[in-house]
Amino acid sequence: MQRIYLVGNPNAGKSTIFNKLTKGNAHTGNWHGVTVTGESKYVKFKDREYLFVDLPGINGLVPFSPEEKVSTQAIINNPNAVFVNVIDINNLARSLNLTLQLLELNLKVVVLFNFAETIKKQKISINKEKFKKILKINAEFVYLRDKNLKNKIFDLVDRAQFSSVDYANKLIFNNDNLSKYEIILARQNLSENNALNKKYSLNFGLDKINEIRQNFISQIIKNSEYSTKNKEYGANKLDKILLNKFTAIPLFFAVMLLIFAVTFGKIGDFLSNGVSLFVEFCGDGLIKLLNILHAPKFILDFFDVAIIGGLGSILSFLPQVLLLFLALDILEQVGFLSRIAWLLDPVLSKLGLSGKSIFPLLMGFGCTTTALPTTTALQNKQVRTKTALILPFMSCSAKLPVFSAISGAFFGNGNIFVIFGLYLLGIFLAFILAFITQKILPTKFNDDILEFTPLRLPRLSVLLKNYFNKIMQFINKIWSIILIFTIIIWFLDNFTIKFEFITTENQTSILQNVATFLTPIFAPLGFDWGAVVALLVGIVAKEMVLSSIAVLNGVTKANVANSLLDINSVVHFSTASSLAFLVFCLIYTPCISALAQLKNLVPKKTFWLFLIIQLALAYFVSLVVYIITGIITGVSFSIAVWALALAFVIAICVFFALKHFFLNKKGCVGCNFCNKS
């Protein structure tokens, strides 16, 4: 089987070509750092098998970030693979840097000139044959609407030969049984082995080798007759507005406000109610059928409460989740994000972050689990760690059903303000945490350079594909984790410890027995045992919070809101405790899959410390909200006052422990914050 790696500069369009060739679903976007891990797919074409791998974008073979390391390692560890070098035809001079570095290693390289549709508009000219001749490799233009594109690319791949550049003979002289990559690194003084650097960089060095490469690139540009009318690729007339902080930043916030208004306002509600009615219609039909079949009571209860009530309550929020994803996707595709990242950089730098942090943070509003890996595109280690740690505070779409249902029950049409307030609170807490961390351990050097991607109209096919992927991801999640745990919750709530189906009020369920131990801890927040169970289950998946409430209260989605007001329901709140619950949901630990991602991104000690701080913060802020709201609505809470005092003491102790932990005079404890590699 032939391995084929798609390599190229960031935003060269590799993932789009990958999806075209493999009918894959790699996420594409108009942003550097969209692909952060290699995605691969097997393809069979004309009785031959291929393994295509879409690598993160790189500018050269010396990795400058973890995502670039993924690409570099893949390249140097697979010398017999075919490397399809995807080049943006608008940006040839810079793109050739990577091409030459691939050829220096004597690899099988073919070139694809992407964005060929822009050739006419940008008045680009290039003599493809002369280009192929000077580099001695095959090359092809990529027109995405070309029906014969697949044939052309596979043909190119099949004819790929090991190629090199003439000057590489001067670079590779090996008496020490080293790989070509190790020698070229040493020639540039970039090897980790200083002895090798000393030996091989004599008469060379980084500057000399760069000069050789640039001279050759100039020769290629000249001989292949390349020219382009667009001398400022990436710039646009609209940048007068979009790169002006006095217009762009207000515009950005206005756009975000609009997104929230559409998602959580009348349009989102209308779509959500439509799905809800459909689910209830199907559910009623199913229950009637089961009654006709004389199904036992516990089976009726299982389908009515667990399946229709539990899963249905989540499905009904699918339209709102998808609206949010669509909006973020459009923002990303258009190229607005890179401009906002630049403009927000001075502000974010004061918090120890980078303007580029805005992309992972915005993605966090969609899904924390998929947003966390994108932090590997951030080159500065401290910025990367800090961004990953504050990302869970960006309220993900999975929490939206909980926010919408509970705020709708207690605040009616004002729920949109409550939801918006929750999102703002999450952002505020994230930035406070970043600010405090910056004061304790300032970020040493923000060495980012940002490339402005060209503004492009979002491609409908890409939007629809990403949209479809999100629907499938959501449904897969429902029919796997959520279904299993909904069934488990239903079982634990409807059977006693002797495994008898509960039919009378005197019987207590397994769940109730377990939750009783934890309930006193949460009593000062006004949470009953059902709310505690919902929070515990929410650690598996945040969508489970609402489905478990529906199961525990024995209702469908349409009645969840009303059931929360009924004191006879297992899970019920007052206005004050409902707000406290929402705030707790906002801040406390993210779901298991997000935790697994976070654990891979930050050091172990930092991870556990962060979890403790997050839980403590969730409790403390919820308590404050409960007390303030309780004062306004007339709730008496003497236990809570004591708990507040205790919470203050705990918060102060945690703060000083944090300060002492990171400023330990005995030496570095490996927190990863000091940017030591």
């Binding site: 050269g60 400058f64 940006n91 840097n97 990577l98 760069n210 000069e211 001398k231 950089d345 940002l450």
Partner: protein, 77 residues
């Protein structure tokens, strides 16, 4: 002079990049290397925007100071 001192709407040529080798390699790969001409589209206190080999880059102050340049046309000093 370093790049942060170059005037907006001027064309400058890079003389040297004074950074550690890894960062230098990264900058070279982006086209910010000796003899490259850069158009200063917009300079500012926290950084600026530059056209480097046809691409529009935002470069922050900390890196601008590492790049020594000379004006291509002396009228723009």
């Amino acid at each position: 002079m370093n790049l942060s001192q170059a005037k907006t709407d001027s064309l400058v040529k890079i003389l040297t990049v004074d950074a550690d080798l890894k960062l230098k390699s990264h900058l070279y790969n982006l086209g910010i290397c000796p003899k490259t001409q850069i158009y200063v589209k917009q300079n500012g206190r926290a950084g600026g925007m530059f056209v480097v080999k046809g691409a529009l880059l935002g470069i922050k102050e900390s890196i601008l100071k590492l790049i020594l340049v000379e004006p291509v046309c002396k009228e723009f000093i």
